[in-house]
Symmetry: C2
């Protein structure tokens, strides 16, 4: 089917978004589809849908650490549980919207830089220092990126993407779409590939 | 490691328990470990942990139907979304505790009979008619099984198993243990096998 792609809605504050992000290139190749990275705000999704972060339930929060560690081992990717979790991801997500707008070819690279800083290096993804790294890998002026975080069109674009995801059925992160078909979680990437291949 | 097994905590009212149940024989074979089926009460787990059923969030409930359908296709097992969901599973879970006590070799067979009735045939797993089928496949007198549902030792045993699962970290269903290692969801069966093989 021409024009199809995998839309990958993610938030750098979400560990399962990080795990999925490390696999998207491989998933796109296996599905034979391009991947469109779409930064959104998971906190906004939770507010709109009445869903809550899994770590709200203490027993689930304890389990999540083992679970994330197993996935990281399974994928062969680095993972360090951050000392600060959760964080408000408005700044990094807006920064990525700015990259999406001004250097779309560098969006995945910039997003991976923020993901790795938070989930592999235990750095603060909301800090100017880490955001500057995203600007660097995207080839954008640091000042411009930091200023964009406070720009109304960037704020509006992040809100619009979040509302779009919710309107299409999203309630968590990561959320992938192939057309109308929605898949939630890095643990559904294999079913996504299977579904694309069967259609 | 001698004496190890996969403990499979399940509730016939849980669709992801059904999906896992259809795979446990294969999972046990791949992990090289026997599977011990352990009926517990998911409602009791939710009450004890503050967790809630995923269908509480409307967007998640809508997604779950697609998700369950995809898993059923992936496994090649029948699935019909029941017209009555959720149901209070005290009666079937107690019936399975009775099977566990009096005919342990038949527990998996009896559990699969109840799972299939609810998740593939849209029958009421709390009804005498369906419970009688579980008695039949377990080779137990129907009257005895129906009477056992109201017996105090059976009630106590179901409560004890539920409390044990919670004490060990469970917050949902299905929950699998290999020793202290806990795995939640049919979507973690591959990680369970991987973890056993690596240890």
């Amino acid at each position: 089917m021409p024009g199809r792609c995998i839309e990958f809605f993610f938030d750098v504050g979400s560990p399962y978004s990080y795990l999925a992000a490390t696999q998207m290139e491989r998933v796109g190749a296996r599905a034979g589809l391009p991947v469109r990275w779409r930064p959104f705000l998971l906190g906004g999704v939770f507010r709109a849908t009445g869903n809550e972060m899994p770590a709200r339930v203490p027993a689930k929060a304890r389990y999540m650490i083992d679970d994330l560690t197993r996935w990281a081992r399974h994928y062969g990717v680095p993972l360090r549980i951050p000392s600060r979790f959760p964080v408000v991801t408005l700044r990094p997500q807006r920064a990525l919207v700015h990259v999406e707008t001004t250097a779309p070819h560098a969006l995945a690279t910039a997003a991976m830089e923020l993901f790795r800083a938070y989930w592999a290096e235990d750095l603060d993804p909301t800090s100017d220092a880490v955001l500057a790294r995203a600007a660097d890998v995207a080839g954008l002026p640091r000042d411009e990126l930091l200023a964009a975080i406070e720009a109304q069109p960037v704020k509006d674009a992040l809100r619009a993407t979040t509302e779009e995801a919710v309107a299409r059925g999203a309630f968590g992160a990561p959320t992938m779409f192939v057309g109308d078909a929605m898949f939630w979680g890095n643990d559904r990437l294999e079913l996504l590939v299977e579904s694309v291949r069967a259609s």
